[in-house]
């Protein structure tokens, strides 16, 4: 009788410790999830800012100005343009 009680007591202690450990583990994982979610959010924000930055740098007015001034580019004269007919079937070339 006493032996059984002792066994159960040990079992109870083990279970209790297990519960504590798993609870702790769960909380740690939860904290990690929170951190990652916060990181995802901040990455999303950064993505938005980068998109904004890209749009700003790639503004056509700016690109055109740089091409003209710094790279000394200009639109080709139409006489020097050659139009090639695409050999692909018409449905591919369709609008």
């Amino acid at each position: 009788m006493t032996r059984l009680t002792l066994c159960l007591l040990v079992l109870l202690a083990v279970c209790a410790l297990g519960l504590v450990t798993s609870q702790h583990h769960a909380r740690k994982l939860f904290a990690e999830l929170e951190r990652e979610q916060a990181r995802a959010k901040s990455l999303e924000v950064e993505y938005g800012q980068l998109q904004l930055e890209q749009s700003t740098w790639a503004m056509h007015a700016r690109v055109e100005r740089l091409a003209r001034e710094r790279l000394r580019m200009r639109p080709p004269e139409p006489q020097r343009m050659q139009v090639l007919e695409t050999p692909s079937p018409p449905e591919v070339a369709s609008r």
Partner: protein
């Protein structure tokens, strides 16, 4: 002797004393039970809430506003977090030196800052809203008690004034106020949510609790606009408005195949990133919200109707001598009197008398039916706020002179967008598509208005108008056949027509062999000596059309011969 009988233990106190102690204990116990009942039963909800507030927190989760993209996925409007600096005036006690530093960091006048912080009657006062995160960090580094920060969102428009009128803007709280931002508010707006969590001693979130409300981010909106064409249109329009010292102008570029609005620009414009500039008339998207008398750009519709009803053929001769036509008290004049013109030449040379004579042969009801069919007098339903309906009076009230003037675009008012849409009729073999500000993935079905044959005949006439001998040889571009019509109309002022103020316009399409783009240009009050649509507005059309066709990679349909500058003898002045 038994233990209990020991005389030492014999009671020496009177019995009431023990009873008194028992009674006291009973009262104390009763008090405890009562208190417990009170706490557990009576006051339970209050205490539980108090307890929860010690460890649980409700976190607000903001819903992000959707982004706006152009058709190629370029970001046109993006919200990004910024900080608001606010204070509890009572808690702030600042030595002057620190006040100076705060004012400097916030870029606020010192007196203004002092005034706001001095208002101790209030518990909450904004010092500055929408502060970039770097500046907010510097404010935080000052470590001033009573000054707090909260997160909010600010919307940025990288294209600034180029697309200001289409995109519109939001107010400081992120609600759409104008343009697409207002029109698609329901889609763009995010819904803020919240979640309840348990926090530990260190403030870390330990567990989620029930009662979370999910935050929903606003949906992104993809516009039909092509930012390359938009930029081109804006730059060319601006150049023309400046060169002609005009009051303003507008341009609309429409893809005839799908009805998508590829570009829409207005002048004067404003920078939507600067809230101080977002006031007054410049905010209005005139191409959509303002109707004007279009002038001769309406002649092709009169002719199309006459062709459609079989009353004329392109080669029917119309007597236009002596260059004027008197109907009742009014006289219609041509700038260049001719004796007789074919219907084709009426369009080519833009004869008012010719158009009026053609119109007078048509029943008013039929003419009204056409205007109605091409969307005049009805909002274009772009979903844009404040779309102009225009002005087309019911045909029953038309007098003959009004019917005659309407044939060349007077006594009728339309917006530039309506005009551009109506011209898709000639670009699309006689049917009309609904315009769309959003990208369209499958082309909508058109609504037939005139026959394919009529559309082709009118397109040919429009091509003649955009050649030497027509009113708009300056609309030509190298490598493509273009077709189009000029319009020059006196502006209405105080119920009459202003003698020296004009609306100069041009609406055209290209490539004429298989039209893809329709561009409508309007210059408001050109004041640099020229006011004819063929001289003021047609060059803008040519520049934008040439660029847009190149950007879209549309094959040329004419030989690559340079356009010669027309001797003015070949350029026909249109009638005003």
């Amino acid at each position: 002797m038994r233990f209990a009988d020991s005389p030492v233990l014999a009671p020496t106190f009177p019995p009431w004393r023990s009873r008194f102690v028992v009674g006291l204990l009973a009262v104390a116990f009763g008090t405890l039970v009562g208190r417990a009942l009170y706490l557990q039963g009576w006051n339970r909800d209050f205490l539980q809430a108090k307890g929860e507030s010690r460890y649980s927190r409700t976190l607000e989760i903001p819903g992000n506003r959707g982004r706006i993209f152009d058709r190629n996925g370029e970001a046109l409007a993006v919200s990004t977090p910024v900080k608001s600096i606010w204070a509890i005036p009572e808690d702030v006690a600042l030595p002057t030196r620190e006040l100076d530093r705060l004012a400097q960091v916030l870029e606020l006048p010192r007196d203004e800052l002092r005034r706001r912080l001095g208002d101790t009657a209030r518990d909450f006062v904004y010092l500055k809203r929408q502060v970039p995160p770097e500046i907010a960090d510097r404010v935080a580094a000052l470590r001033i008690a009573g000054i707090h920060q909260s997160k909010e969102y600010r919307r940025y428009y990288p294209a600034s004034e180029t697309m200001a009128h289409v995109l519109g803007f939001t107010d400081v709280d992120g609600t759409g106020q104008e343009g697409i931002e207002l029109a698609f508010e329901a889609q763009l707006a995010g819904r803020a949510g919240s979640r309840r969590v348990i926090r530990d001693r260190l403030g870390q979130i330990v567990e989620d609790m029930e009662g979370a409300r999910e935050a929903r981010d606003g949906a992104d909106v993809t516009l039909a606009l092509d930012s390359r064409i938009q930029n081109l249109a804006y730059v060319e329009l601006k150049r023309a408005v400046e060169a002609n010292r005009a009051k303003g102008g507008g341009i609309v570029v429409v893809d005839a195949a799908t009805g998508e609005v590829l570009a829409l620009a207005n002048l004067p414009s404003y920078n939507p990133n600067n809230s101080a500039r977002r006031v007054g008339g410049q905010v209005r998207n005139r191409a959509v919200t303002d109707a004007f008398e279009p002038g001769s750009t309406l002649k092709p519709f009169t002719v199309a109707l006459a062709l459609e009803t079989g009353r004329v053929s392109p080669y029917t001769t119309i007597q236009v001598a002596p260059g004027s036509l008197t109907i009742g008290p009014a006289t219609i004049r041509d700038a260049h009197p001719e004796k007789a013109l074919t219907v084709e030449q009426v369009i080519q040379k833009s004869s008012n008398v010719g158009a009026a004579k053609i119109a007078l042969a048509l029943p008013p009801e039929t003419m009204w039916g056409l205007f109605d069919g091409i969307g005049f007098g009805a909002a274009p339903r772009l979903g844009f706020p404040g779309e102009a309906v225009g002005k087309v009076r019911p045909y029953k009230t038309w007098r003959p002179v009004e019917q005659a003037t309407m044939s060349y675009g007077h006594g009728i008012a339309v917006s530039l967008v309506q005009l551009a849409r109506a011209y898709t009729l000639f670009a699309r073999d006689g049917d009309l598509v609904p315009l769309s500000l959003l990208r369209v993935d499958s082309p909508p079905a058109g609504k037939p208005v005139v026959s394919k044959q009529t559309a082709e005949l009118v397109r040919h006439m429009l091509e003649l108008a955009a050649q030497p001998g027509g009113t708009a040889p300056r609309a030509r571009i190298m490598g493509y056949r273009v077709a189009g019509k000029t319009g020059t109309a006196h502006k209405q002022e105080h119920g009459g027509y202003a003698a020296d103020k004009y609306h100069s316009s041009f609406v055209g399409l290209a490539p004429a062999s298989r039209p893809r783009l329709v561009i409508a240009v309007m210059i408001d009050e050109p004041a640099a000596g020229q006011h004819y649509g063929g001289i003021v507005a047609a060059p803008v059309f040519a520049q934008v059309m040439a660029g847009a066709l190149r950007i879209l990679g549309i094959a040329p349909d004419a030989p690559m011969k340079p356009i010669e500058i027309t001797p003015s003898a070949l350029e026909v002045r249109e009638s005003v």
